[in-house]
């Protein structure tokens, strides 16, 4: 269970969007500039809240009053960025292995093979990111985050840079990820079609506030 109760002063408004997520895929839905990415950056530890606390299961990630601010690399939260951010100097195989390697975990060929099959990226393993299409790159980015065995997966508009055909290719993978890998997800999007297919729960975020909470019907 993820509990987020933080405040952060951003450019024109104060972000104050408390919420609780209990597994499945929670979508943060709303116009760009509403503070959605800032929320997940604070969960990941890439942005520091002004006050409040963030708790994931039994781990306090951030607590201003208690002076707790767990380092990004200790949080074990997977993050799929809008632009993939694959490491250009490493092969796809090494990109996928990076999180396991950094975590000091032994190789897990079964988990590797499963993620590779789920995302259909087996034919890319020996290539480098520079040669991949946008869709392939995002699938690898999802695999890389998944293979670090995260406690939570953050996805920041993972399909925004792709055309609609490519989006339809990748969305089923993400749905399978939600249903088969059972990793809790926080998914940022402003595309209603995407939200309807992936969301277990939707929170509408506008101007740094949560203006509505509900199911996928919220985006209609």
């Amino acid at each position: 269970m993820l509990v987020v109760e933080v405040e952060k002063k951003l450019g024109g408004f104060t972000l104050n969007a408390p919420f609780v997520s209990e597994g499945g895929c929670t979508v943060l839905f709303g116009p760009s500039g509403a503070g959605k990415t800032s929320i997940i950056n604070m969960i990941a530890g890439l942005m520091k809240p002004d006050r409040g606390r963030i708790v994931l299961d039994d781990t306090v990630l951030f607590d201003k009053n208690a002076g707790i601010d767990l380092a990004v690399w200790r949080r074990r939260i997977g993050y799929v960025f809008q632009e993939g951010r694959l490491f250009p100097h490493l092969s796809i195989r090494h990109n996928l292995d990076y999180g396991r390697w950094m975590g000091g975990h032994p190789a897990d060929p079964a988990a590797f093979a499963q993620a590779v099959a789920l995302l259909d990226i087996g034919h890319l393993l020996d290539r480098r990111p520079g040669k991949l299409s946008g869709g392939e790159r995002q699938r690898v980015a999802v695999g890389r985050a998944l293979l670090m065995k995260p406690r939570l997966l953050l996805l920041d508009e993972p399909l925004a840079s792709l055309d609609s055909g490519r989006k339809d290719d990748i969305l089923p993978y993400l749905v399978r990820l939600r249903d088969e890998a059972k990793v809790p997800m926080i998914y940022v999007s402003h595309d209603p079609n995407e939200v309807r297919r992936i969301a277990s729960r939707v929170m509408r975020v506008e101007g740094g506030q949560v203006t509505a909470t509900g199911g996928a019907e919220l985006v209609n």
Binding site: W73, Y79, E83, R128, P129
Partner: protein, 231 residues
């Protein structure tokens, strides 16, 4: 092909050794200083920047003189190093390497700093979400991404060290077999009547070494760059 005398060969070998040692020893320091200047904000940063660049703007003879009064046998730092660590710089090839390293330092730092500043920091954020602590972040992401700049910096430093003359001759003099580099040997030959012809062979060797160093660095930098761009 060349009419190099045994003494000339000694100077060539010495030059290569001094330039290589100067470059390799300067590398970790140059990388550290470049990292500080590119990434950190601290009190005295512009002062550090100025000190690093000083050898670039000072007359080399002045740099050599300053080395003499700090690292000479009786100078404070020089005496300490000699008495406690057994490291002697004055009138030794190690002193020549020190002078060359310091003269080459600003060029090395500039090249590495530029490549560090060009790195997409978002890749480093991605690595830390994947569990990389600061050490692993630096060694597995930052350093490899800066590699083309590091190679360029090493090449510039090596070339600069090879051509160093003023600071070296001021600091450690011009002793054949110990501190007489190609540059100093050429200078010595040209001071003797009729020595120009003998100097020409050394000049040709100097040109060949410089061109070879340039081509090698181009080759390695291109290979490193190609790796980065996924070819």
């Amino acid at each position: 092909m060349f009419n190099l005398t045994p003494e000339d060969w000694v100077a060539v070998r010495l030059s290569l050794r001094i330039a290589s040692v100067a470059t390799l020893v300067a590398l970790p320091f140059g990388t550290a200083v470049a990292y500080l200047l590119a990434r950190k904000n601290f009190w005295g940063k512009s002062l550090l920047d100025a000190i690093v660049h000083l050898p670039l703007v000072l007359p080399p003879v002045v740099t050599g003189y300053l080395l003499l009064i700090t690292f000479g046998r009786r100078a404070p730092i020089g005496a300490f190093l000699a008495d406690h660590l057994g490291i002697v710089f004055s009138f030794r090839w190690t002193g020549a390497a020190l002078a060359c390293g310091i003269m080459a330092f600003p060029l090395m730092v500039r090249a590495i700093r530029l490549s560090l500043e060009a790195i997409d920091r978002r890749l480093e954020d991605a690595a830390s979400t994947l569990g990389a602590n600061r050490f692993w972040l630096f060694t597995t992401i930052t350093l490899p991404l800066a590699l083309p700049g590091i190679i360029a910096g090493m090449m510039l430093a090596f070339a600069r060290a090879l051509g160093e003359f003023g600071a070296t001759i001021t600091f450690v003099s011009n002793i054949p077999g110990e501190t007489q580099t190609i540059s100093a040997a050429i200078y010595t030959l040209t001071q003797v009547p009729g020595g120009d012809a003998a100097a020409l062979d050394l000049v040709i060797v100097a040109v060949i070494i410089s061109v070879a160093a340039l081509m090698a660095s181009e080759f390695f930098a291109r290979r490193a760059g190609a790796r980065l761009h996924g070819v």
